[in-house]
Amino acid sequence: MSDDHNHGTELVPAEPIENPGLPEHLPRPTDVDPVAEKRAERQVATLFGLSGVSAVLFCVSYFAIGKRDVFIGIEALQLALGTTLGLALLFIGVGAIQWSRKLMSDHEIVEYRHPAASSEEDRAEALAALDQGIEDSGIGRRPLVRNSLLGAMGLLGLPAIVALRDLGPLPGDSLEHTVWRTGMRVVQDVDGRPIRPEDMQVGQLVNAEPAAFFPSEEGEEPEVPEHEILAEKAKAAVILVRMQPDDIKDQERAQNWGVDGILCYSKICTHVGCPISLWEQQTHHLLCPCHQSTFDLADNGKVIFGPAARHLPQLAITVDSEGYLVAQDDFNEPVGPSYWERG
């Protein structure tokens, strides 16, 4: 290459080693040996052929293998479709690469670069055209027109934002309340069984919900409408735990909030809201599986580890006339993750 010696300016020390230029092109076996060439050709054609076979096998598997068939503990249809499709695609790819490596011309070619910038003349011309345009519009001479246009364009942003107002309602105080209220039974999740203190043993954990999520009688609708249950559950889910009354540390905030060592806490982590129920019955620690915030349920739900900043809210419970556990009232603080106006 004759153009390789023009780099480097005079100020920089001379390069210690001259650019020797592009190396000589050496042929491949397939370029010089007709036998190798034929072999490579057959190889490529075989790969393409195998791809075709796999594609056909994919279709055969699709219809021939039953949905319930099993092979080595895996559903056979999935296995067969994945393997045949994968091979059909892979063989085409490998064949094409092999073709390019063995049979296509492998002479390297050289292309010349140009600076990314336009030439000086082009730039001058473009600037002149731009100036001419600005001049002709008179935007520089008529600030009133320019400024009023800019103002109008800016105000157009307002409708764009205002129109999104109905994305959702305003929070109001809805984050501060749950469906818990005085006398609402604490029932087991899934089957809605009400719970008597004597049903619970020391060391017991019950994942519980307010009774309002379950129909009071067979065939009836629950008090909370079906479509609101998930949103309410995201705040009202609780856990009941029973420990030795002696183990419970001084409860300043929560005098008489439990029944015989049974305490009820919010299940919603005060960090970012994962439901927590990894309760260690011996240490009384409750671990969140999402980010490992750990709360001590024997000590007012205090944070003892992890990224959560606030203690776990406790629900005051008592026993109703039929002997079932009920809430004394709603939570006395917002449950779940923090937010600005929470205070």
């Binding site: 010089v32 099993v70 999935q78 492998d106 999740d189 089957d191 019955q281 750990t294």
Partner: protein
């Protein structure tokens, strides 16, 4: 249906006159009475309950294998600092023994954050003897009968709901286990027998909370076991399960298998191929 009963009764009335009818009815009656008794009796747990021989044998085993930690009479040993060296076994019941010893957790091979599942040291008879002895120390949950954890009629879908509500937080969505604070962990549930699962829910071993029959009914427990056992046996729908531990393993496989193999292909695509030194005369064009 009615046709069928009519046929059967017709046949029966024909056989009633047979000479063998009377003895057959007698035997049937005896068998039925015995069967009903066998089915009802275990609820009391006395009829088939441990006898004194078992308790004595259990006491001997206990003294050799367990007493060094749990005390000669199972009263527990407290360290000077007031910690439990081995907890008291008074009132833990036979179910606890069957679970802890039957899953190989006890005797513990070494002190640690938590006892781990191993090959059991004792055989079934010895476990029964130990359970009988510890059961005699104070009332506690007895070893459940086979009918208690017979999950063949369990409602799988409902079991899944109970499982996801009560169990997945610690044991993971596929029962593969998960981490607890301070080096403790919730063990994998794969390969655990139905009996041991049932016992674990009733007794709440180690850090696991109790799920008493008063709240999580025996039927609900069977549903959970049925769900887990079905998951264990069901074929994997999507290929190899990659350990069923969630997105962390998936990410690792995406990098190792996916990016690894594709970079490998990329190296092959751009690698120089074999060259020959001498050009064949006139062939190169």
């Amino acid at each position: 249906m009615r046709l069928l009963t009519r046929k059967i009764s017709a046949r029966l009335s024909a056989r009633r006159r047979s000479r063998l009818a009377a003895p057959a009815v007698l035997i049937l009656g005896l068998l039925a009475t015995g069967g009903v008794w066998a089915a009802v009796a275990p609820a009391g747990a006395d009829a088939t309950g441990p006898n004194d021989d078992q308790i004595q044998a259990g006491r001997a085993l206990f003294a050799v294998s367990c007493a060094s930690c749990h005390g000669l009479n199972g009263e527990g040993i407290t360290t000077k600092k007031g910690n439990n060296y081995g907890p008291s076994l008074v009132g833990v019941g036979g179910a606890s023994v069957d679970f802890q010893v039957g899953t190989g957790r006890m005797p513990m091979a070494q002190a640690g954050a938590q006892a781990v599942r191993k090959t059991p040291v004792f055989d079934d008879d010895q476990i029964a003897e130990l359970a009988a002895y510890v059961g005699s120390l104070g009332a506690g949950p007895a070893i459940p009968e086979a009918s208690d954890y017979d999950y063949s009629n369990g409602n799988v879908a409902r079991g899944g709901q109970f499982f996801r509500t009560n169990c997945t937080a610690c044991h993971n969505f596929a029962g593969s286990g998960g981490a607890l604070p301070k080096g403790k962990f919730a063990p994998s549930l794969i390969g655990v027998s139905a009996k041991h699962m049932y016992e674990a829910m009733v007794i709440g071993p180690q850090q696991m909370p109790v799920f008493s029959n008063g709240v999580l009914t025996p039927d609900a427990k069977k549903d959970v076991i049925a769900y887990l056992k079905l998951q264990e046996d069901a074929p994997s729908p999507g290929g190899f399960a990659l350990g069923s531990v969630g997105p962390v393993a998936e990410g690792m496989f995406a990098w190792l298998v996916g990016i690894g193999s594709l970079v490998g292909f990329g190296i092959w695509i751009t690698a120089g191929s074999a060259r020959v030194k001498k050009t064949k005369k006139g062939a190169d064009a």
